[in-house]
């Protein structure tokens, strides 16, 4: 297997508050290799985006990386500060945000936004950057790119703007893309197009993708492997097909069971009892234990084993095929 583009080891993000230290990301480890799409899935507040922000060095204080390591192309980046980290952002890590309507500066032409990004990171002339800007827009499927570079963001539809955002994230040819809910704000009909585009571009360039979403459908469609997060911890990590058809962590199992399937014709959707604990009230032992139907004594005292490779962070992983 190729050396991973991104390697996260035991990453812990802490937010000190008056009521103690919160850990929105708690001991998470995973790798992403070039050309691979790793889906990060979980409920709101499970720490998905926080992990992404930690990687690109955009945690908003007082949140900070308290423990663990982040390796990018064999170099450790979690300790880089200010200027050194800025050079990596955009150049080696691209980011796509959730809402294309607010991600673009409304007062600058999209061509100028592309050009300034390229000129910041690449040793090319202004004329060359302009040429590449048009090429980048063509690549993401903007019709009439040569004319549209001079348009302002408000002259594009939401889907087109997300294409522009993707072009911006990719224009300095980063080796890793962090896509934070890239399709959530879009029309359902546009979602599939954008995902297909992201997938194609990253395959072609061998870019690693960290795809953060709460939408299992998007994961099933686009990702190669999936990491399921729960209360800041990794619940399960494995190839998409395995995790979807044969989840081993009871939380993943509950999550899959609550996804409506047209083929199954369920009368009532499965529901996991309770709610994800607030960050200031994560229970001892396995974070999922109060809601787990298979809970045993051990789960209440010892945190689940760390999920790494193809594994579930569970003392008593399920062995079943019942969801297939």
């Amino acid at each position: 297997m190729a050396a991973p583009v991104l390697s996260i080891r035991n990453l812990t993000v802490e937010i000190p508050t008056r009521h103690g230290i919160l850990k929105p990301v708690d001991g998470v480890s995973y790798d992403i290799v070039g050309g691979e799409i790793l889906g990060i899935v979980g409920e709101s507040g499970a720490g998905k985006s926080m992990a992404g922000n930690a990687v690109i060095g955009l945690l908003s204080p007082p949140a900070h990386i308290a423990k663990g390591e982040i390796w990018l192309n064999g170099a450790r980046v979690d300790q880089l500060k200010g200027e050194a980290m800025r050079r990596i952002r955009g150049k080696e890590i691209g980011m796509v945000f959730q809402d294309p309507l607010t991600s673009l500066n409304p007062l600058l032409r999209i061509g100028d936004q592309l050009v300034e990004t390229m000129l910041t990171h690449l040793p090319i002339s202004h004329a060359e950057a302009e040429k590449r800007a048009i090429a980048a827009l063509e690549e993401v499927g903007i019709p009439g790119a040569a004319k549209r570079v001079n348009s302002y963001p408000h002259e594009f539809s939401g889907g087109m703007r997300q294409r522009v955002v993707i072009a911006l994230a990719l224009c300095a040819e980063p080796s890793l893309i962090i896509a934070d809910e890239p399709t959530t704000a879009l029309d359902v009909s546009v979602q599939a197009q954008i995902m297909a585009l992201l997938k194609r571009l990253c395959r072609d360039r061998g870019t690693a993708v960290m795809l953060i979403t709460h939408d299992m459908g998007v994961i099933a469609e686009a990702a190669d492997r999936v990491a399921v997060m729960y209360a800041g911890r990794l619940a399960e990590l494995g190839p998409v097909r395995e995790v979807i058809t044969a989840p081993r962590h009871p939380y993943t199992h509950g999550l899959m069971a609550s996804t409506p399937l047209a083929s199954k014709g369920q009368k009532r959707l499965h529901q996991i009892p309770g709610a994800m604990p607030r960050l200031d009230a994560v229970p001892d032992g396995c974070a999922f234990n109060p809601r787990c139907p298979y809970v045993q004594d051990k789960c209440r005292h010892a945190p689940g084993p760390t999920a790494e490779g193809n594994a579930a962070a569970c003392w008593f992983p399920l062995v079943q095929e019942e969801l297939s």
């Binding site: 952002r89 955009g90 991600s103 500066n105 409304p106 007062l107 600058l108 302002y152 994230a169 300095a172």
Partner: protein, 326 residues
């Protein structure tokens, strides 16, 4: 764009017509001008003759249009007190006020924006907090008090700067300027600080709060995520967006700098139109008051027109919305 400008100009003209009506009405509300013009020794014939001569026997509307007609041609009549054409007096005084207002305005804008950006970017720094605290003084102390304090400190105690007047001025074809002599420049310092301080702190606090708001926006996060340099993020991405609402306020404030000049000019005995206006009020010199009113409103309206046009250059979204297509 042209249609938009024409529409705005029509609105401006309407505003000026209404202000003109108010200015004209002053003549009628503040006593009979004939009384003021003829002395104690007058006959009924004199009154009648002067009334006819001045056209004051004609209907109100006719008089109003006559007033407008004259005003457009720069003819505001004779000053009751000085017995000279008002327009001559105004033109003679205007350079002093305009120079003072220009210097104050530039000071207010340059320092207001610079300090606003600084305090927004270094929000938690000691210097930023110190500036914010000091700026409270600028907002809360009345202009005349600041002027008097400055005079006390720099003229009376330290003796560095003159406490009144314009110093030596140079006449450039009817425009008397204080920019070309040392004493003229020195005389400008205290009044322009006094006049501009309030606007500066206002602009600074506004820029700061708008900028903090803009810095929280997604497109700033995205700009950072693309690894753009801080300078670029702050001054190209953030400041431009900050300026959209700030420009409106700056425009209005520039207008009020000219209006507020009355107080500063009084404190520093600055020979501008503001001081002229104050003296005109004391002597019920209605033509001067009316002309001053018109002059100020023309400036206000003009500045607002410029601000509206500036929007076009800053915010591309307006170009589409207002003109319907591009």
């Amino acid at each position: 764009m042209l249609a938009y400008i024409i529409r705005r100009m029509a609105q401006s003209a309407l505003v000026l017509l209404i202000v003109g009506l108010v200015a004209f009405a002053m003549f009628h509300f503040v006593g009979d001008p004939i009384d003021n013009m003829l002395g104690q020794e007058r006959t009924a014939d004199d009154i009648e003759r002067l009334r006819k001569q001045l056209g004051l026997d004609r209907p109100f509307v006719v008089q109003y249009f006559k007033f407008l007609e004259n005003a457009v041609q720069g003819n505001f009549g004779m000053s009751y007190r000085q017995g000279r054409p008002v327009i001559d007096i105004l033109l003679e005084r205007a350079p002093a006020t305009l120079e003072l207002a220009a210097v104050s305005g530039i000071l207010a804008i340059v320092f207001g924006i610079a300090l606003g950006v600084f305090t927004a970017i270094k929000r938690k720094g000691f210097a930023a907090n110190a500036i914010m605290s000091v700026s409270l003084i600028g907002v809360s102390l009345p202009t005349f008090l600041i002027g008097i304090l400055l005079i006390y400190l720099f003229s009376v105690e330290l003796g560095w700067l003159p406490s009144f007047g314009r110093g030596n001025v140079v006449d450039l074809g009817g425009w008397s300027t204080g920019f070309l002599t040392t004493s003229g420049l020195k005389a400008l310092i205290l009044p322009s600080i006094t006049l501009g301080l309030y606007q500066m702190t206002l602009i600074m606090r506004l820029v700061r709060s708008e900028m903090l708001e803009v810095l929280r926006q997604d497109y700033i996060r995205f700009a950072r995520a693309r690894g753009l340099r801080d300078r670029n993020v702050h001054f190209r991405h953030a400041l431009k967006n900050t300026m959209v609402p700030v420009i409106t306020v700056i425009g209005l404030q520039l207008g009020s700098i000219i209006a507020f000049a009355i107080i500063t000019e009084t404190v520093f005995q600055w020979p501008g139109v503001g001081l002229l206006f104050i003296n005109a009020i004391q002597f019920v010199d209605i033509p001067v008051m009316a002309a001053y009113l018109m002059l100020i409103s023309v400036m206000f309206v003009g500045i607002n027109l410029i601000v509206d046009i500036l929007y076009f250059f800053i915010d591309p979204r307006l170009r589409v919305d207002r003109t319907g297509g591009h």
